[in-house]
Symmetry: C2
């Protein structure tokens, strides 16, 4: 016991020294990001000069070319494109919808097709409406009450959940599986309340799936704005015979060629130990994808730039990956993990930023207790930056396929209160991202990557220890 204390005492000056060095490095990272950052001007270009960039679109390819060019200019050790085939779905011309309370008495509704939905018949689709609060309601209504109708999924996000992603998780099955489930009871279409905690006029798109439903049984699915959903529900209460009309011309094309954009600083000591940081480069098409996930892309690029800018020489390989196709396929994330496996790459850590460019609060981790405890020991380093949230469970969709074999995964957790005001909607635009908040996020990510690089994960230590 005394011996151990003796060793600790001998180590103390070293530990204190090391601590001070970390404090300095974090201060340097934050200061550089806030006074001389690039993330905001990159996002400006991505959002305002390119805009929404759905997989397979020209804009997605413009985003690939732009971000590769920017990474090329950073003086990284390696920058490349990783080929990936992506689904291509197009929204078509502006969707249109109204409800009819009596013949000829119509009120327009703000809708948008859900990503992956089929079109309505060319002249649109008009039918009676049955409102439900979720997929669970379908069975009790049965085919008798659903057949030939449009099912209106109207369970709102739960407002009293503090973490809005939990409220999203509690509702999104209506959007993702509502059409497939309603079709089984003979519904002719579905309309889903937007995943939005605010009452406003923006319809929010997002991915949906028909599961294994044969093509002939697929029914069109659209989201309606929260104000529209409230109004439609009120009208249905006043008049059960209210009919809904909607028209959308969306279309699925053959898979398209696209790319993950990758750059790296090769590690000086352990080049084969890879630390990945990323966001997804594709976005929905309604807004310009500033929060989802332009922010995560430019923050991830900024991580590598800040490492170079602050003069830190990483021991391990730090890699930025801008994943293609998170929104409607996850092909980029799957491809990246597949190639990593083929090559036998050792991914020790991966961090994703895909929860908006808001003030960072901390991280969530897919990590075992030993790794999580190591990370917790760094918590005090983050305190001056008001980073306080460190929790096990959840990281990011694109890095998910890297899971297993001891890779520690993490997700940046920004303040989530306003995220779903903008998520997948036409108001996910540049002016809703605050420069400081974005830069604080980039610095917070860089700080964690720095600590992981310097101290390794518990697995890497074990390998060496």
């Amino acid at each position: 016991m005394l011996k151990k204390i003796g060793i600790l005492l001998m180590l103390l000056p070293f530990l204190v020294q090391s601590q001070t060095e970390d404090e300095k490095q974090l201060r340097e990272i934050y200061t550089t990001s806030l006074t001389n950052g690039k993330s905001y001007s990159w996002l400006d270009y991505l959002s305002n000069q390119i805009g929404g960039r759905l997989s397979g679109s020209y804009n997605a390819e413009r985003a690939v070319a732009y971000t590769k060019g920017q990474l090329d200019s950073l003086g990284l050790d390696k920058v490349w494109l990783q080929s990936v085939m992506v689904p291509k779905w197009t929204r078509g011309i502006k969707e249109f919808a109204y409800f009819e309370t009596s013949p000829g008495e119509t009120t327009n509704l703000d809708i948008c097709a859900l990503g992956g939905s089929v079109a309505t018949p060319e002249g649109g689709l008009k039918a009676a409406v049955v409102e439900v609060k979720g997929i669970e309601d379908l069975a009790s209504l049965g085919e008798e009450k659903i057949k030939g109708k449009i099912v209106f999924f109207n369970r709102p996000m739960q407002p009293d959940l503090i973490q809005t992603f939990e409220a999203y998780g509690g509702c999104v099955d209506q959007r993702y599986s509502g059409a497939a489930e309603a079709a089984k009871y003979g519904a002719v279409g579905v309309i889903v309340r937007s995943m939005n905690l605010r009452l406003d006029d923006y319809p929010h798109t997002g991915s949906m799936s028909y599961g294994d439903l044969p093509a002939s049984q697929r029914i069109p699915a659209a989201a309606v704005s929260t104000n529209g959903a409230e109004l439609l529900s009120t009208m249905l209460n006043l008049n059960k015979d209210t009919k809904l009309y909607f028209r959308q011309t969306c279309k699925v094309f053959p898979d398209a060629q696209s790319y993950n954009v990758i750059g790296e600083i090769t590690g000086s000591e352990f080049p084969n130990e890879i630390i990945t940081v990323g966001g997804h480069l594709d976005s929905w098409d309604l807004g310009d994808g500033s929060h989802d996930d332009g922010a995560g892309c430019v923050q991830s690029m900024e991580v590598l730039r800040l490492i170079k800018q602050t003069g830190y020489k990483p021991k391990r390989t730090i890699r930025v990956v801008l994943f293609m196709n998170e929104e409607n396929g996850l092909r980029g994330g799957k491809k990246y993990a597949e190639v990593a496996k083929q090559k036998g790459e050792n991914h020790v850590f991966a961090l994703e930023s895909d929860a908006g460019g808001f003030t960072p609060r901390g991280f969530s981790f897919d990590a075992d207790d030993a790794n999580f405890n190591q990370i917790l020991s760094w918590q005090k380093l983050f305190k001056p930056y008001l980073i306080h949230y460190f929790k096990q469970g959840g990281s990011g969709a694109d890095i998910g396929p890297l899971k297993g074999e001891g890779t520690v995964l993490a997700g940046l957790r920004p303040d989530s209160q306003r995220y779903f005001d903008h998520h997948h909607a036409a108001n996910d635009t540049f002016e809703h991202v605050n420069k400081r908040e974005l830069e604080l996020g980039a610095a917070t990510m860089t700080s964690l990557i720095y600590l992981i690089d310097k101290y390794g994960t518990v697995q890497t230590s074990k390998i060496k220890g």
Copy 2:
């Protein structure tokens, strides 16, 4: 020792029980605020139906009448107006400014008069400009280089400070005392870079003082937008002879009659122990004062409403105070403390919300260690609501005069990153307040007030113990 442990073990079920009750009460408070809150609709009225409400203006009196009416409707035990005389300053017609790089070659600048400034001469004021980075620079330049000129204070807020109020504190002397100091060296006017971390076109007003400078020596003072400040500085670098013109018609009137708006729930056990919660009802005139401090007013009103709504019967008297004239005189805060002292009222605790309606992060406290430690023991109750910031030092301007005699003071600390984008400017408007963020703040305040009421402060405990 064993005895003590024995007592603790005996107390354990009680402590666990009590803990559960507090957890339940906080959950109830947050849920009620987020699902059935009034703060946002009150703010809508205050911002959009009334608007900016500078002390002594008709709008300030409309705000007094409106908020008193709303408090009357809550079924409180007592609602009243507390008379207070306030300074009355008016901005006059829209300010106008340009700089002239050569005769006739002019560029307009976005400026606004600082609160309390004198007018320019009727035809405006035109003079050469001397740029400084702060009051410290005046002495080294001396009268020779300042006399007859307009002093341009252009030290920006420091962007790498994480807490933006610190950056504000490091700059605001230029606004508050710049004119008084520059006048001593013979300056004819001052123009101050807006206290804003963003680069944009909004000039930010705010209070200034001439100190004990005789009326005849007072010089007009205006704020220029950050974009304007950058441009002017660039032009001065290119051409030292650049002249600045500005015109403003502001005016001081005799003090006006106004009011603090007060309501209370009388305590059931200790009615003479008063817990005050408040914000300030006056605002600057450029925007509608939504963040500063409409948010704090409606949150404070909501504290009392949530207490009643959740069925909690406070032991102590809970009082909401909407203070008049924080912005340019603090007369309301001073008057409230003065009357409290005259009446021998025992204020055990006071909380102010005056840092914007953003996501709450925690509180700062003007409290001794014993009280602060008691509050820290409640920290875990706040964890599910992501409230993590508990720090000694700083509370609120209006409650400041209550300091001393064992009153514990506290200030709500919301996320501060966007606050100075809007502070005292035309874009401090309702659409920049997020409903959930505002409601989370109200619930956080109510939770602290509940705990203080239930457990008392260390002083109150001592009195009873």
